[in-house]
């Protein structure tokens, strides 16, 4: 799976690679358990998300190819954000047949807890080319204050 040895990986660090493998193993275990009928609780949900942050707030991105913007719902309460929606499938006519089906469809719900209170009025979302960007500003009252230390 590794394309090149560590060190010449460009912007891919070994730590990122380790985390990726860890995630992969979590998912494999989760899949194995859910197939066996037991539930170990979702390790992570759909869609996969990336989260960026600074003092002003956070940005969440998620890949949702084939989902219509109208089928995406975002709800914010306090410090949690819930992303839900559905990826609609399609059916073939009687005279059509599948040779390969790798894409999956269905509903999704995912709740993320942010490390700050959200200014719910200012949350903005943009869906472009199957990628969702949600920008989540931090509530004014929750922003870190800089305290100047005066000399005596």
């Amino acid at each position: 799976m590794l394309r090149r040895p560590f060190g010449v990986f460009g912007d891919v660090s070994p730590w990122r690679e380790m985390e990726r493998i860890h995630r992969l193993m979590d998912r494999m275990l989760y899949d194995a358990f859910s197939l066996a009928g037991g539930r170990v609780g979702p390790v992570s949900g759909y869609p996969a998300m990336n989260v960026w942050a600074n003092d002003e707030g956070a940005v969440i991105t998620a890949e949702l190819p084939g989902v219509d913007a109208d089928d995406i719902n975002i709800a914010v309460a306090g410090d949690t954000l819930t992303l839900s929606g559905q990826r609609k499938g399609y059916e073939l006519n009687k005279d059509e047949k599948f040779h390969r089906r790798e894409r999956s469809f269905g509903k999704f719900t995912r709740t993320i807890q942010l490390p700050f209170k959200v200014n719910a009025d200012k949350v903005e979302a943009l869906f472009k080319n199957g990628v969702l960007h949600i920008s989540i500003p931090r509530a004014e009252a929750d922003k870190p204050k800089k305290i100047t230390v005066k000399g005596a």
């Binding site: 190819p65 084939g66 219509d68 509903k107 999704f108 080319n129």
Partner: protein
């Protein structure tokens, strides 16, 4: 269909090394998940390529190998630092063997919401013909 109500699961995308040549871009390359179906007139390839639009997709047909490629520029938010990563952004590439029964000059493709659809029309001989049975 029951698939409508089932919960979606994340599939870790398959990371690949492009077959034909050494990459000249410092990007990860993923193999997109595809559906392939056949209608009486066409073979259709549907590929999930989030981040790709009609300008950043490249479809080539070399002999009987059809290759789809999508190029994605990372769109990281400015002045933010990543605190949590579940997926990686990269290019897409996947090749398919095409039978001789495809009309090579009339292949069409569309991209919508990060999903590429390639329509490969069958040449006339390959289209299923309905044979009328006349009463004797």
């Amino acid at each position: 269909m029951t698939a409508q109500t089932k919960e979606l699961q994340v599939k870790e995308p398959e990371r690949i090394t492009p077959r034909q040549a050494e990459p000249t871009r410092d990007r990860l390359v993923f193999e997109p998940a595809v559906d392939i179906f056949e209608t009486p007139t066409d073979v259709v390839i549907v590929a999930d390529m989030p981040g790709v639009d009609e300008k950043s997709v490249d479809i080539t047909l070399d002999r009987n190998i059809l290759t789809i490629r999508g190029f994605v520029e990372p769109d990281n938010p400015e002045n933010y630092s990543m605190i949590y990563e579940e997926y990686e952004v990269g290019d897409y590439e996947r090749s398919f063997t095409i039978s001789n029964q495809i009309d090579r000059n009339n292949i069409q493709a569309t991209v919508k919401n990060g999903v590429l659809q390639v329509w490969l029309p069958k040449v006339d001989e390959a289209k299923a013909r309905k044979i009328q049975v006349k009463a004797g």
